[in-house]
């Protein structure tokens, strides 16, 4: 997947009410691209059939 650019990061920030400027903008760009790239590389068989796990309730 292509890395997100600074302009795209700034626009994404705007969408959630954050005005992100340099030097934070550059660092967030590296961090977000690194995370998304790492996640994109993990694709175990059957992943799409799995229900996500937001929480585990302890037994009563």
């Amino acid at each position: 997947m292509a890395d997100l650019t600074k302009d795209e990061i700034r626009a994404m920030g705007k969408a959630v009410g954050l005005d992100i400027q340099d030097p934070e903008l550059t660092e967030v760009m590296y961090s977000l691209n690194a995370l998304l790239e790492s996640l994109d590389a993990i694709n175990p068989p059957g992943l799409n059939e799995v229900e996500p796990l937001p929480i585990i309730l302890p037994p009563a």
Binding site: S31, N33, A34, I42, I56, P58
Partner: protein, 475 residues
């Protein structure tokens, strides 16, 4: 015994002396307070020392014990608690400048429970900012008593430094992604992340709501067992608090390991993230567990090595949501790496968060399936020992955006399983190395059983940090 020698006892040994009235809780509390005053400038472990309240509580404990009203093994034992927990009438910063004046009007349940067990709370310990990252401190950086130029590990960094520096008998930390076991392994201590739901989260500043867990950081396995017993149990103030009955964990101690099956997670031992000297210490620890009677063999948990990625998503998104208003209003008050993490977490797409939860679900199933065959899983707590303290570096590439790839704790946070770190030797620089043991939810008894048998069969728990002054300057 000279009062200045009391801080060097284990919590359990101190407890026995207090219960038999050979030592008074006031003497023990004064000894720790004097030591904190004389020595903590070296470690930066406390943010707030609660001298007056501690002495008042110790006086009451002394009277209660003298009149036969014992509350158990923690009665009169001085402890430290992470500043992530609310303390009524006492500043509770969460390691943040944003909360530098925050004084709660209620205690976290873990503090209430400690007091109900008769423990003496000495003060609030330093921590990374909002317990979000492993390194960033907004007040001062705690120093590792084994080498003052190295990190303690975080986020419960002050609890690690105070316990290793003999500035408390035992302590509490909080572990969302490894924040109890990380300082435990780097400071040569025992740290246990209990099963999620076993210990109340009421009054605990939130990180990731389905992974936040409070537990002990202690000098011995027995100390961790009695500390956990003091804080565990159902709490109506925490909607996800378990009603599972809490056993006396001391009953798990002193057992042999015959009949137990232990799986070595091969993905971690095969990883190049494990330094050779750490690898050797772990290999030796597996042999020792085998000699104690357990069957020890390799097991594969394929997704375990990817736990860092899926947990990193959760550890960025959920705190970013929890702190959305502060991030908008106080962005300059955050430290560099926490600010970056919260901004990044604010932008992670929903599909990525959803995928991370799917991966979590798959990993959890793989971990639970392994427990059909094994009683416990073992692996390094971290792939390297304590690293030098350095400036928070700027992020100049994708590769430099993560600093915790060597931390192997998150598999059990994601699976919501309990795990313990126990000292298992030293690296080539004579810094402590930790063996991590994980078990099924509510398997704390199994963890204490294995950790205690291993601890008692090896010399590591008798080693003392080099940088500690073993005679108080004020005595």
């Amino acid at each position: 015994m000279n009062k200045s020698e009391l801080p060097f006892l284990s919590a359990s040994d101190l407890s026995h002396l207090i219960q038999s009235s050979e030592i008074s809780p006031v003497e023990a509390t004064e000894a720790y307070l004097e030591r904190i005053e004389a020595e903590d400038f070296r470690y930066n472990s406390y943010l707030t020392v609660m001298r007056e309240q501690a002495l008042a509580d110790a006086t009451k404990a002394e009277l209660d014990i003298a009149s036969g009203k014992s509350r158990g093994p923690m009665h009169g034992v001085p402890v430290a608690v992470k500043d992530q927990f609310w303390s009524k009438g006492v500043r509770s910063t969460g390691g943040s400048r944003i909360l530098s004046d925050f004084v709660p009007n209620d205690d976290a349940t873990v503090i209430t429970n400690l007091r109900n067990a008769g423990a003496i709370v000495l003060g609030k310990t330093n921590m990374t900012e909002f317990a979000i990252t492993g390194f960033s401190h907004r007040y001062s950086t705690p120093r590792n008593p084994w080498n003052l130029d190295t990190y303690t590990g975080g986020s419960s960094s002050g609890s690690g430094a105070a316990t290793a520096g003999y500035l408390c008998a035992s302590s509490l930390g909080e572990d969302t992604g490894g924040s109890i076991r990380f300082p435990a392994t780097w400071c040569g201590l025992v740290g246990i992340r209990p099963s999620w739901g076993l210990v109340s989260r009421y009054g605990v500043m939130r990180g990731v709501w389905s992974m936040d867990t409070v537990g002990p950081i202690s000098r011995t396995v027995e100390d961790a067992a009695i500390t956990l017993n003091a804080i565990a149990g159902h709490d109506a103030k925490d909607p996800y608090s378990s009603r599972y009955p809490i056993p006396d964990y001391r009953e798990s101690l002193g057992k042999d390991l015959k009949g137990l099956k232990v799986g070595i997670i091969k993905e971690f031992m095969d990883s190049d993230l494990v330094e050779p000297d750490v690898h050797q210490a772990l290999t030796d620890s597996f042999a020792a567990i085998r000699e104690l009677g357990a069957t020890v063999e390799e097991v594969s948990i394929p997704l375990s090595i990817d736990a860092g990625v899926s947990s990193a998503i959760l550890l960025a998104v959920e705190p970013a949501l929890a702190q959305k208003e502060w991030l908008n209003q106080h962005i300059e008050e955050y430290g560099h790496d926490v600010r970056n993490l919260l901004l990044t977490g604010s932008l992670i797409p929903a599909q990525a968060y959803y995928k991370a939860q799917q991966l979590r679900s798959m990993l959890r199933q793989q971990v639970l399936d392994s427990f059909n065959q094994y009683d416990a899983l073992v692996l390094p707590t971290a792939g390297k020992a304590a690293q030098p303290i350095m400036e928070d570096p700027p992020i100049t590439s994708k590769e430099s955006s993560s600093r915790l790839g060597f931390l192997f704790t998150r598999i059990f946070n994601l699976a919501n399983c309990p795990a313990i770190s126990v000292p298992c030797g030293f690296d080539d620089s004579n810094m402590p190395v930790g063996l991590q043991i994980g078990a099924l939810p509510r398997g704390e008894g199994t963890l204490f059983k294995i950790a205690h048998a291993y601890e008692q069969a090896t010399p590591w728990h008798t080693s003392r940090p080099r940088e500690v002054q073993y005679a108080s300057r004020s005595s």
